[in-house]
Amino acid sequence: MILVVAEQREGKLNRASWEAVAAGQQLLREANIAVLKIVVLGRAVSALANELAAASSAGVIAVENQSLGTYTPDAFVQALRQIVTTESPQFVVFPHTYQTRDFVPALAAAMDRAVVTDAIAIRNVNGAPAFARPMFQGKLTADVVPEGPTPHLVTFQIGAFRADAVARGASPAPITAAEATIDASAVRQKPEEPFQEVRQAVDLSQAERIVAVGRGIKSQDNLPLAEALAKALGAELAASRPICDNGWLPMERQIGSSGQTVAPKLYVALGISGAIQHLVGMKGARTIVAINKDAEAPIFEVADYGIQGDLFEIAPAIAAELQKG
């Protein structure tokens, strides 16, 4: 059996949960497993369970508990450990989100089981499933096989599977309620309300064109070169995380898993190597141009057009070319 753990926030399923269901359904076929179930946890999840029942599965398990209302790793580990032990699946599948990064390795350690994180594809190696995952900042991909007793836990990268690829059932899957006993006194994290730092003054998700700068820009003093190119293209200026970490551009201009997710018509990556945390924020762009001195940089994997070379020469040349009309 495969158990897919759906993720919700404030009563809404996130898209990554449907992607995890799609991944689980493919794993079912690859590993020749008969049964897939989906579990959803929270304070009140019946509406979400109904929504998930549309996917082709053997059933949806709804776990309701007051202690699961606001996420904490301790409560989620306690609850899921019980559900996984009862259901005894071969694989437990999750989306790879900031929330699962927080508790899934702890769940695996508590159960003394293997966990593969950030998987992008399922391979078949001699009849057994292996999971492809990026390593070395995306410079290499590894096919890995989890070892030791089952269940094996796997998290799938956002965007690696398509939410609209989820197979739907002819009729809704049965929903069952499951109890999880949570010792609230053993939940050590005391969370406060989530908040946004500043109202986003720049909504990059609405920008038609974006010029984004990375480490290759070398110094804050070189930013005017990127600004000039952005102006010539009628584009917004954005950046990868290290640029914002250094304070060269405000955090609100950061693209990637910790910043904004964008899908402009044109995305020009200047001196961005293309670590996965950045790619997840921009690979939905329609046309991607990458300019980088390193021909092996992972950004070229997702680029439509690439120029290998010195951005300090190429960016001004493009701006000049545009001004010719």
């Binding site: 790793p73 301790d74 900031y98 990064r101 927080d102 508790f103 899934v104 390795p105 702890a106 695996a108 350690a109 089981r113 293997a114 966990v115 950030d118 190696v125 990026p134 390593m135 070395f136 900042q137 290499l140 991909t141 590894a142 096919d143 890995v144 096989v145 989890p146 070892e147 050590r188 005391k190 969370p191 406060e192 989530p194 946004q196 290290p242 970490d245 609100e252 898993s257 910790s258 910043g259 904004q260 044109l266 190597s273 329609r286 046309t287 141009v289 092996e296 992972p298 070229f300 994997e301 997702v302 680029a303 439509d304 057009y305 690439g306 120029i307 010195d310 020469e313 493009i318 070319e321």
Partner: protein, 253 residues
């Protein structure tokens, strides 16, 4: 306050991967190494907490003899002493094996706070922190952007997705994984480098054989998501051709 910082030695960002004959691991003899960048931020945060609350900072690392390079660097930046769990097999080990190797000797030290980077720039499992916390029996939180410690507890700012944050509190001892950019890094001074030579590095062997929980069956360059048109020529020629294609082919200008 007694603070541990777990650091990992990883290939430098400029490193171009070359594979071993069996295409299951990287050719280690070609690599130059550096401190995993998120761990450097964790170290800096520990040094700042020591400056505020006094106490000591102990740098902990699991790996082959070569990881002494980054341990020395951490000592030069200001850590007080080091714990090195040394075994050749730890070089390519996964997070499970590294946490298993460090758990017992770190438990003996009874740290108030354990910091480490949110993930490593090499294997990038992002698992080590929560696994080690579970083995130490202490609470944890991940992807932390601010640490406010007082007697017996810690309040932290955790990064959520898409520009959201959340504060949470937990009792000490606790483990936190630190996000890059939480602070501004300091670099080692000459005085620091000299002082580091006299600092203690305690070496221990792992209590049991190093055993990873995942086996790499193949390692290869990523498959291209797209057919990339590489535009050659001088800067001016490439620029002209790119603009033409963006206008006529992609129609985005």
């Amino acid at each position: 306050m007694k603070i541990a910082v777990c650091i990992k030695q990883v290939p430098t960002r400029e490193w171009q991967p070359r594979l071993t004959e069996d295409k299951k691991w990287i050719r280690e003899q070609d690599i130059s190494y550096e401190m995993n960048e998120p761990d450097a931020y964790a170290l800096e945060e520990a040094l700042r907490l020591r400056e505020k609350h006094s106490g000591e900072v102990v740098v902990c690392s699991a790996g082959p003899a070569r990881v002494q390079q980054v341990i020395r660097e951490a000592l030069a930046r200001g850590a007080d002493r080091a714990l090195h769990v040394e075994d050749a097999a730890l070089g390519g080990a996964d997070a499970f094996a590294a946490a298993a190797a460090l758990a017992d000797p770190m438990a003996e030290e009874r740290f108030d706070l354990v910091l480490t980077g949110l993930q490593s720039d090499d294997q990038g499992h992002a698992q080590f922190g929560p696994i080690l916390a579970t083995r130490l029996g202490i609470p944890h939180s991940t992807i932390i952007m601010e640490v406010i410690a007082d007697a017996g507890s810690v309040r932290v700012k955790r990064e959520l997705e898409g520009g959201w944050f959340q504060y949470l509190s937990m009792p000490l001892p606790a483990l936190l994984t630190i996000q890059s950019g939480i602070n501004q890094l300091r670099y080692a001074t000459l005085k620091g480098i000299m002082a580091a030579k006299k600092k203690e590095i305690k070496k221990v062997a792992p209590a049991s054989a190093v055993a990873s929980r995942q086996r790499i069956v193949a390692l290869y360059p990523p498959e291209k998501a797209k057919q990339t048109v590489m535009i050659p020529g001088s800067a001016a020629e490439a620029a002209k051709e790119l603009v033409r294609r963006l206008r006529e082919e992609a129609r985005v200008l």
